[in-house]
Amino acid sequence: MLNSQSLDVVLWVISGWLLIGLLGILTLHRFTFIARVLFPLGGIGGLVLAVAAFRSLINGGTQNRLLPIGLPQLHFHLSLDALSAFFLLVLGVAVFGISIFSAGYFRNSTGTAPGLLCLEFHFFLASMALVLVAADAYVFMLAWESMALSSYFLVTANHRLPKIRAAGFLYLLIAHIGAIALLLSFGVLQANTGNYTFSNMRMQSLSPFWASVAFLLAVFGFSAKAGILPLHIWLPEAHPAAPSPVSALMSGVMLKMAIYGMLRVCFDLLRVHIWWWGVLLLVLGLATALFGVVFAAVQSDMKRLLAYSSIENVGLIFAALGLALLFSSYGMNLIAALALTACLFHVAAHAIFKSLLFLTTGSVLHATGERNLGRLGGLIRFMPWVAWLALIGILASSGLPPFSGFISEWLLLQSFLFTPGLPQPFLNMLIPVATASIALTAALAGYTMVKFCGVVFLGQPREEKLNQAHDANLFEKIGMAWLAIITITLGLAPNFIIRLIDPVTRVLVNQGLAAQSKSNGWWLLTPTSMARASYGPLYFLLGVVGAIALAFILVRVLYHARLRRSAAWGGGHPWANSRMQDTAEGYGQPIRQVFEPFFAMKRHLPKPEDIEPRYEVIVEDKFWNGVYMPVVRVTEFVSSIVGRLQRGRISIYLLYSFITLIFLLILVPSARK
């Protein structure tokens, strides 16, 4: 009884968000009301959502509802099972932080009216939640497309700039094409029964061919949303273009909707698994991860950098997903559960720390009006809150113990080390390469994050105006602090999260890790057995802290604490100034050198005779010229041919009808049979 309510709660929250949006549009220009009342309300809604989802995760079981709207033959089917609940939990937790932050973030001066922003923002939230509880193809697609649409309007909030408009267009186009692919995939899954409910799709048993068709269409559709190679092209354009809280939502939460879709289709709707599906996802994911992190390392715009790092993380999640698929296709369900746990854990971890990082960029943007790393620096002195909170996010996202990013990485590598059990020898060949690329990705992520943090917050300010930078306001602080706390919790109490993930994996591959990790005590993370591997983040933390304390005390006791301040040593150089620090470009230089073939680079080197010499390097994505431009050219060519149909000569038009008529008349005899 108590349990059956949590889906209702979710629905109430969804309708509440829609209501808030409408309120926003009614009070179009009353800024303070919208910012200080409506947005926090939405945040509370997120919290409620999280609680409801948490409860249904604990209580387990599936709840269904049927709303009397939608198509006459197909009313809205909604259901809440462990998978949806987990993602709802992530959504709710993230939204709480982000909404509170937005309450302090949005200024009255932005191009779009605040009420409109409020509407779009909350419709975005509602559609995401609806995606997660959809139980038939129509509702799912409806919510999916509304999600794309509302986020599009948020991205183009500042539509005065042509660049942002272009980004928005590219985003919506790719999202729409992906959506059509998904639609077709559902068309295959319903197996011509004309019944689009997921429950019906589960019952269908498709032939391997049709199953693969559905799978491939789904992969296409969801990769378009998740930004998997080669459909990533919109992501680094669209995410930075949006206002920072929206970027946080898109990078942190919306990408996970694609993951949810993949899990739903691959593990829930498609009951059969074919091994090469897993390999495909694995390869796609790893390629994306490596690509994303390498590009992130050379960016000089802080939000673009984060966007590329999102591509990397989603790639890792995809890889874990593929590994799980691979294992389950061979019936090794326990290890599949391990891989899935890694996947879901990273979903949660990334959702939180990436939102946190995007929010910090928001505060920086407000304080300095700068996004370009080359013009920032030294902000830790003016905005310590933001800096230290950002540091937490950075440590998490570069996968360092004892933070959340490390756990998922650890689980992922553990599940990789199990692969020698696979029956196919040449799959085993894949493993070292895969593991190596994951390790490389992780290391490069560290590189990138040091660049991000070091250039933005450390060093000396590269511009005069940075000295007037102010710290985040209260709402912003609360929002970011919340996310930071969650990040730390994820890192220190992984077993707690794993116990939440357990029901999900039980639903998907009817295996779970909770029992195992319970048996070895809550403080130790032991996926399979003590002898195999164990990691105790609390021990770890205690060890480090203890050692630090020991050192500190010993130094104080045995020696002294005298400290003198003086100017930094410029290496004997009299005119040392902030311009001599390494720029973002300079920091990315080694990566550019090592991964030269990845990039399409345009360099401008200063010449001796230049009056004001400048060094400039523009790194571009090879996929744009390699994949997208050709498609565009072909389309234009075809359209030019089609255009020839309309040449204005009436005789020619008559000729068309004449020929059509004759052609059809020739067909007539065939009809008699």
């Binding site: 408009r165 267009f169 068309g187 295959v188 389309t635 089609v642 008559l654």
Partner: protein, 484 residues
């Protein structure tokens, strides 16, 4: 029978009155009045149908069943909203000296006559009268398209006239063959041209004649539907006439022509016992989708662009009916309805946008939501509705069409995917900068009538989320009638 009589008589009377009274300042109001009266009559009729089912009238010369009742109502409704829209629109045109008094008179009286012809074509049971009504509709719209008397409009009207005239002639030949086939099997004394009678005996009709007849009918009425490659008149005619006319042409006349095609298909299917008719329609449909979509990429004139999108949508609908089956037919009918609503809404918005900017060339229309947000959002929302974005109704119908295509004709699904994707890219990449961005144009002399725009969009939105019971009932029944 009285409501049906009212539905037909009101616009006819209206055209006479408006023709006689000549141009007075309140001519536009009279126009609105008559359209509204027609709409009321249609609503009255609808209630009657909802109450006591299909009816015949005037010894079976007229009939109303599930397949045409919603089209009648839709036609009357959009006829009314368009008259409301053309009040300020034509007034501004007049102020700008594009319309003389005599032409205003012509415009209003022909507008009513045109509505009459469409309603006649929809309600008649007689295939011959259907043909006559279609021809008459062509003639009236020719006059409406050429009402500006500019070279471009004359050229468009001329092409429209010649191409559709020839097409319609083919339809006449088809009708004659139909008659010929019917005479064989129908008992003497029973009128062999009445669709209901034909439908009763359709299985007995000679396949050879019916195949031939259907080809001529398809080419004939297909020309008016604007199926590629018979579509060439359409973009010209829709782009050069006054915008209200573009709205009704795209929103209503195409539907009426398609309605005629469907009636013929039902008979042909009955006689042929194979999918000949369906396959022809599928072929035409896919071709139209592709041609429409790829032509969209080359447009500079906004009204031209949206008329190509009409071609594309007609292609989708034809494809759906060609595919047949309860789901696809249902989707097709829904698509007809929602497309009519959304496309006319788009044309209203486009009309005002073009008037603001003083041009139809898209490069010169910018920043609509800055100068007048309602027009801007109207255009944006309408475009999204047309592009099949949820929660608008077109998404629902496309959802059903695509998913059922994926299993009945898997090879056709990629074609549709391509068409839809290209159309989306083409239209949206042009509309976005028109709605967003900076501008320096000034407000209009007369406040634009935006009620119709949002009324239509609201209905389209509703149909995406909730379809009323009786409408659903009609659709299901009509889908059953169409069969396939």
């Amino acid at each position: 029978m009285s409501p049906l009589f009212l539905v037909l008589a009101t616009p006819l009377l209206g055209s006479l009155v408006l023709g006689i009274m000549g141009h007075r300042p309140n001519g536009r109001n009279v126009n609105v009045f008559f359209s509204f009266a027609t709409f009321l009559a249609a609503v009255f009729l609808t209630t009657r149908i909802v109450a006591d089912g299909p009816i015949f009238a005037l010894n079976q010369q007229f009939f109303i069943d599930s397949l045409n009742i919603f089209l009648v109502t839709l036609t009357a409704f959009i006829g009314f909203t368009t008259s409301v829209f053309s009040r300020p629109y034509m007034r501004i045109e007049e102020d700008r000296g594009k319309m003389s008094h005599s032409r205003m008179r012509l415009y209003f009286s022909m507008y009513q006559l045109f509505n009459f012809c469409m309603l006649l074509a929809l309600t008649t049971n007689n295939m011959g009268i259907l043909w006559v009504a279609m021809e008459a509709a062509t003639l009236t719209t020719v006059l409406l398209v050429s009402v500006y008397r500019t070279p471009a409009s004359l050229e468009a009207a001329w092409k429209y006239f010649i191409l559709c005239g020839v097409g319609i002639a083919q339809a006449l030949l088809g009708t004659i063959l139909l008659y010929m086939a019917a005479q064989k099997v129908i008992a003497p004394g029973v009128n062999p041209l009445l669709w209901s009678n034909l439908n009763a005996v359709k299985t007995l009709l000679n396949p050879g004649v019916m195949a031939l007849a259907f080809v001529f009918l398809l080419v004939g009425y297909g020309t008016k539907v604007g199926l590629a490659p018979l579509h060439n008149w359409l973009p010209d005619a829709h782009a050069e006439g006054p915008t209200p006319i573009s709205a009704v042409l795209s929103g209503l006349l195409l539907n009426v022509a398609l309605y005629a095609v469907i009636r013929c298909k039902i008979l042909a299917d009955g006689a042929l016992h194979n999918h000949f008719a369906g396959h022809l329609m599928i072929g035409f449909g896919l071709l139209s989708v592709l041609v429409g979509a790829f032509s969209l990429l080359r447009q500079r004139d906004i009204k031209r662009m949206f008329s190509y999108s009409s071609i594309e949508h007609m292609g989708i609908i034809t494809f759906a009916f060609g595919m047949g089956g309860p789901i696809a037919n249902f989707a097709g009918l829904l698509h007809m309805t929602v497309h009519a609503l959304s496309k006319s809404a788009v044309f209203y918005a486009v009309g005002h946008a073009a008037q603001k900017a003083g041009t139809q060339i898209m490069e010169n229309i910018r920043g609509l939501i800055k100068v007048s947000p309602t027009v801007g959002w109207g255009l944006m929302m309408g475009t999204l509705a047309i592009l099949g974005m949820p929660p608008f109704g077109i998404f629902a119908s496309e959802f059903m069409i695509l998913t059922s295509a994926m299993h009945q004709l898997p090879w056709a699904a990629p074609v549709l995917l391509l068409g839809l994707a290209v159309a989306f890219g083409a239209i949206f990449s042009r509309v976005q900068p028109m709605v967003f961005g900076e501008t320096n144009v000034k407000r209009l002399a007369h406040p634009p009538a935006l009620l119709p725009v949002f009324l239509h969009l609201g209905l389209a939105l509703m149909l995406g989320l909730y379809i009323p019971g009786y409408l659903n009932h009609w659709f299901v029944q009509a889908a059953a009638i169409i069969g396939g």
